[in-house]
Every structure is written in C-alpha cells, then in structure tokens.
Amino acid sequence: MTAAIFLFLGLFLAVLGGLTTFLRSDGLHRIISLNIAGSGVFLALMAAPGGEEGVDPVAQALVLTGIVVAVAISGVALVLLARLAELGGRS
C-alpha cells in the first residue's frame, strides 16, 4: 500500500515538474522544476521495484547515482545562470 502511494506521488511530481518546465521560460524556474520532476522519477523508481518486501540494492545504487548526476548538473546550471545574469539581459 505504501509503495503504491509513493509510486503515485512520484509520478505526480514528475508530471508536475515536467509541465512547469515546458510552461515557464525563466531559467531559475526551469532548473527548480526539472529537479522536482527528477525527484519524482527517483521516488517512483524506488517505489516500483521491491513492492512490499523491501527495495533492491542495485536499484538504490542506480537512483543514488542519478541523484549525484542531477545535483552536479544543477550546480553547473546555476553557475551558468548567475554568469548570464551578470552579463545582463533576460535569461
């Protein structure tokens, strides 16, 4: 039952974040909504495999690496956004 709730929440967040990414053109909004969508995907992936009898460690490793990659990319994206703001104009 808990797994189903997490799966539903994860997919909901993924769709919400994905839609916002498309609808907003502002850089910061996009980075944040992409992260929300990413978290949703990770949550769904964690909830889906094991069901009630716990989670597969390999799946956990996949999601953990995904989080690391998402954090790294978001960090570089924020630096670029700050540099763009310094150079002036709309992002």
């Binding site: 992936l45 790294a72 570089v76 540099r83 992002s91």
Partner: protein, 462 residues
C-alpha cells in the same frame, strides 16, 4: 592479444591525460598531443584485433555481471572508436594552435574524450549512463568557454536538455532492470524488457542525439561553441547518443518505425533550415540535424534487418564524423580570420586560402554523398538497403536529401570560389589550423576506397 586491452587504453588514456593537464597546465598542449597520438594507436589496435580475432567482451575485476563493469568491442564499436580517435587527434592539433596552454579547454576536452570512448566500449546500460552524463556535462561547459552571452545561454539550454535526457534514460534503465534483473545490454536484448523501458531510454537518447523534433538545442549550442569544440560536438558527442540508441533499438525493435518517421522529418527540416540561415557555423550545425536523420533511418533499417543497412549506418557515422570535423575546423579558421561568421560576408576570408577551400570542398562532397568519398559509399549502402526492403518512399528521401545537402553546401562553396581577391585576415591563422581540417577531409575521401575491408569488419558482431 585481446582487443579489449587497447580499448581500455583508449578510454583511460584521456582520463589520465586530463588529470595530468590539470596538474601541470603549462605542459597541457604537449601532454594533450601525446595523449591523442596514444589514443589513435590504441584505436588502430582495436580495429586490427577485432578484424583478426573477432569481437570480445569481459567483466572487469571478475565481479558478477550486475556489479562488475562490463566492456565489449565488436566491429561497429571499433569503427566508432576509430572515428573518435581520428577526429580527436585533429581537434587536439587544431586546439594546440587555437587555445593557450593555460586554458580550461584542455582538461575538459580530455575528460569528454575519455567519456566518449567509454560509451563506445561499454557493455552495460548503466555504465553507459554514467559515461554519457560525464560527456554531456563537460560538453555543455565547453560550449560556454567563449564567454559571450549567446554561448552561455546555448550552454545552459544544452545542459538542461542533457538533464532531461539523462533522467528519461535512467528511468528506462531502471524499468528494464526491474523487469529483467540485469543491466547487461546483451542480456537485455535476449530478455526483451517491457516496451516502456525501451521507449523511455530511446526517448532520452533521441533528445541527446538531437533527433527531429527534439533538435532545437543543437544549432545554437554547436554554432556558438568555440571553433574546435563545435567540431568535437557535431562529429562525436551526438554520435555517442546515437551509438547507444543503436544498442537500445536492438533491445526494443518496436521503436524502429518511429525512428524512420523522425529521421525523414530531420532530413527535410534540417536541410531546409541549412538553406535559410545566414551564418556559416549555423549552416553546418543544421546540416548535422539533417545527417542525424539519415543515421536514424539507417539504424531503424539495420535493426529491421535490411541487408547492408548496418554497413551503411556504421560507415555514415564514421564518414560524417570526419567530414563534419573538417567542415567545423575549417569554419573555425574562417571565424578567426574574419572575426565573425555572417555568410556570405565572411567568405572573402576563405578566397585566398586554397588549403581551406579544398578541405571544405572534399568535406562537402562527402556530406552530399558524391563519389569518390566515404559519404557516397555510406549513402549507397543505405539506398540499397531501403530498396532491398522495398521502401521506395524512403529511398526517394535518401536520394532527395543528398540533393538538398548539395544545395546548402553550394551556399558555402560558391562565394569561396569567387575570382575576386580575398580579404586580409584580422587575426593570423597558423598553418596547423588549415592542415588539420584538410587532413580530415583527405581521410574521408580515402574512406571511399577502403570499403571491402570495412564491410568485413562491420560483420563482426558481438
């Protein structure tokens, strides 16, 4: 000797090189050239061993397959590795005359190169993800090295697209793993995971390979990047995603028809845009969108088993890498001489440079598929495969696309052949910049001749 040993060297040598360059920045150019020569020797070793002994695969460290890092090379992987080594060497030589020694380009480029070569030798869907992300991150930062506003915006967009593609791909890998309990690409091919996994992974890869209509990020990123970076991005980085898409299409062949439709769209739309835009590097970047369409069509035909399609798509990937590398390196020299790339205004700086004009001419012949060039052979195989499968519409698109590419390449060559005297360069262009472009262009012409050897190599399957 095992072909996996030189394959590992080809992936690890640039990694070691990037660390050394970061530690000793004043020696960066010499270190990078030595690394590039080493990678070329290793790639030639891989091609040689695969041709003689056949494909090979192993798991590093003796771990079971889900935990250990599986690496594999077959004929197709060896050809992608060869393309990466040759274009990489030319871009490094070009960079040595273009960037100063203490420049972030060197570390980032060698790191990117290590990631690309790792993609071409991996046998594991998840390690492919890690390598692909490393490539995406370094490539996006390389785009912004020029420091102009437009380059920053293009790099940021590229980075965010990369993140979306990565998340989709990872979701596909996770669904496939949940259903089958394996991450090995070969085992996935045998187990046929649910369609959802293939659709998610291929969607992410199509985004990263700039397959129409997901190509919007490519023209600004490739056109705004500094000279040699454009060549690396257009020749190699999109090919890494394409190579993985090939592996995943074998896992989920249901998506092949979609790739054919999108590929047709890319050929037409990319070529029309290349006819319209008014900047030299933008013309070449839109040409990449169109050529990725050819490659997508070829992949789908190869996965559906059309005779000769695998040879056509492997050869097109190799020759497109060389020809596009030559075109972008040539364009970078024009930009350096003119200070801008508005076209045909900047063409005056191409006129008194016979080496560059020859490089553009040979690269254009291969991109348009004119004989004798590697591109002609590749498109011949694709045309033959389409007609062999009795897909006449597809054959018409492949032939007509060649006509369209000839038209937009004519836009580059015609003002260059104007008999009026050329303009004085605003910045000096060292000879190594012109000759590295011509080297790639001569090689792609030579690849129109060595075909029988390559056909046997592509037949070496895993």
């Amino acid at each position: 000797m095992n072909p996996l040993l030189p394959a590992l060297v080809a992936a690890l040598l640039p990694l070691v090189g990037s660390i050394l360059v970061w530690l000793v920045p004043s020696w960066s150019r010499a270190l990078a050239v030595v690394t590039a020569a080493g990678v070329l020797v290793a790639a030639l070793g891989v091609v040689n061993r695969v041709a003689l002994d056949g494909a090979a695969m192993m798991t590093l460290g003796g771990w079971p397959e889900t935990l250990g890092i599986g690496i594999a090379v077959d004929g197709v992987g060896a050809l992608f590795l060869l393309a990466s080594a040759v274009v990489g060497l030319a871009a490094t030589a070009y960079g040595a005359g273009y960037f100063p020694a203490r420049h972030p380009f060197w570390t980032l480029w060698l790191l990117l190169w290590a990631a690309l070569n790792a993609v071409f030798i991996t046998a594991d869907a998840f390690n492919a993800y890690v390598a692909l992300e490393l490539a995406g991150l370094t490539a996006a930062v390389l785009v912004t090295l020029g420091g102009e506003r437009d380059a920053m915006a293009a790099g940021l967009r590229y980075l965010l697209v990369s993140l979306v593609g990565a998340t989709l791909y990872l979701a596909g890998v996770a669904v496939a793993y949940t259903a089958t309990g394996t991450l090995s690409l070969n085992a996935l091919m045998a187990d046929s995971p649910p369609m959802m996994a293939g659709v998610l992974a291929l969607g992410g890869l199509a985004l990263k390979a700039a397959l129409f209509p997901l190509h919007g990020w490519l023209p600004p990123a490739h056109a705004r990047a500094p000279g040699p970076v454009s060549a690396i991005l257009s020749a190699l980085v999109v090919k890494a995603a394409l190579y993985l898409a090939w592996r995943w299409l074998e896992v989920a062949p249901v998506a092949a028809e979609a790739f054919i439709l999108l590929g047709i769209g890319a050929v037409i739309w990319g070529s029309l845009q290349a006819l319209r835009v008014g900047r030299l590097k933008a013309i070449i970047a839109w040409s990449t969108v169109a050529q990725m369409g050819y490659l997508a069509v070829g992949l789908a035909l190869a996965v559906e088993g059309a005779a000769g399609a695998a040879m056509g798509v492997a050869w097109l990937a190799l020759t497109h890498a060389l020809a596009k590398g030559a075109a972008f390196l040539g364009a970078a020299s024009v930009v350096r001489a003119a200070g801008h790339d508005r076209w045909p205004l900047a063409a005056a700086h191409l006129r008194n440079r016979p080496v560059l004009v020859l490089a553009f001419g040979l690269a254009a012949a291969s991109l348009a598929g004119l004989p004798p060039s590697g591109g002609f052979v590749a498109k011949w195989y694709l045309l033959d495969a389409a007609m062999g499968a009795e897909r006449w519409l597809l054959a018409a698109v492949i032939a007509g696309g060649g006509l369209l590419s000839a038209a937009y390449l004519y836009r580059i060559l015609h003002p260059a052949l104007d008999p009026r005297p050329g303009a004085e360069a605003s910045h000096p262009v060292p000879p190594v910049l012109e000759w590295s472009a011509l080297g790639l262009a001569l090689l792609v012409t030579a690849f129109g001749v060595v075909v029988p050897w390559a056909r046997d190599l592509v037949g070496v399957a895993a």
